[in-house]
Amino acid sequence: MIVLFVCVLAIICALSMLFFHHPMRMAISLVLTMSCLGLLYGLLGNYVLAVGQILIYVGAVMVFMIYVIMLFDVQDSSIKKPFTLYFLPSLLVLFIGGLAIFPKLKDLSAPTIFPQTVHFDYFARHFLDEYWFHFELASVLLLVATIAAVTILKRESK
C-alpha cells in the first residue's frame, strides 16, 4: 500500500512539472519525483539503487541543474511560452503509438512474489562476476567519447 502511495506521489510531482513554467519550480518538482523514486527503490528492497538515486540524481545532477538555473536569466521569453505548435500533433502520434503498444504491455502480468533484497555485497559480487564486461565496455565508450570531445575542441580552437 505504501508502494502505491509513493507511486501516486511520484506521478503527481511529475505531472506538476507540466504545469509549472519557471525552471526552478520544475527543478524542485523533479527533485521530489526523484526522491519518491529513491524511496520506492528502498521499499522494493533495492538499497543499492535507492542510495544511488539520492546521491547521484538528487545530490549531484539536480544540484548542478539548480546552479545553472540560478546562473541564467529567469526572464527568458521561452519560459513564458506555454507549448509549441507541434505539441498537439505530437500528442496524437504518441496516443496512436501508445494504443499500438498497450495490448502487448497489458499481457505482462507478474506472479505475486516477495521482492528480492539487493544489498551492496550481493550486488558487488554479482556485478563483478557476471557484468564486468558490460561495465568495462561502458567505461571504454565513455573514454572514447571524452577523447573525441577533446579532439573536436582542440581542432576548433586552432
Binding site: 508502494v3 502505491l4 511520484a10 523533479l30 526523484m34 528492497g45 548542478f64 541543474m65 541564467f72 521561452s78
Partner: protein, 100 residues
C-alpha cells in the same frame, strides 16, 4: 493487472510525461529536465521488471545508466551555457541556424 506491476506502470507513465514535456516546451533547461524524467521512468521500469523476473539485469543496467547520466549532464550543461552565451536565449527555436 497485478499490484506488483504498479512500479512498472509508474515508470511508463513518467516516461510518457517526459515525452509530452520534451515535445511541448521550447526552453532548453526545461527540455533537459524532462529528459531526466524520461530516464528516471525507464530506470524504474527496468528495476521493477528485474524484480518481477527475480534477476539483477535491471539493477545493473540502471546502475550503468546512473553513470552515463552523470557524464551526460557534465557534458550537456557546458553546451547549454555556450549556446546561451552565443544566442542570449534558451529558446531552442532560435538555435535552428546551427544546422547551416
Amino acid at each position: 493487472m497485478n499490484l506488483d506491476m504498479v512500479p512498472f506502470w509508474t515508470g511508463i507513465i513518467l516516461f510518457i510525461i517526459g515525452i509530452i514535456g520534451m515535445i511541448g516546451r521550447t526552453n532548453l533547461l526545461s527540455m533537459l529536465m524532462f529528459l531526466e524524467l524520461m530516464l528516471n521512468g525507464i530506470n524504474l521500469a527496468l528495476v521493477s521488471a528485474g524484480i518481477v523476473h527475480q534477476n539483477l539485469d535491471g539493477t545493473v543496467l540502471t546502475f550503468i545508466i546512473f553513470i552515463i547520466t552523470a557524464s551526460e549532464m557534465a557534458l550537456t550543461i557546458p553546451v547549454v551555457i555556450i549556446l546561451q552565451r552565443q544566442k542570449k536565449s534558451l529558446d531552442v527555436l532560435q538555435y535552428a541556424d546551427l544546422k547551416h
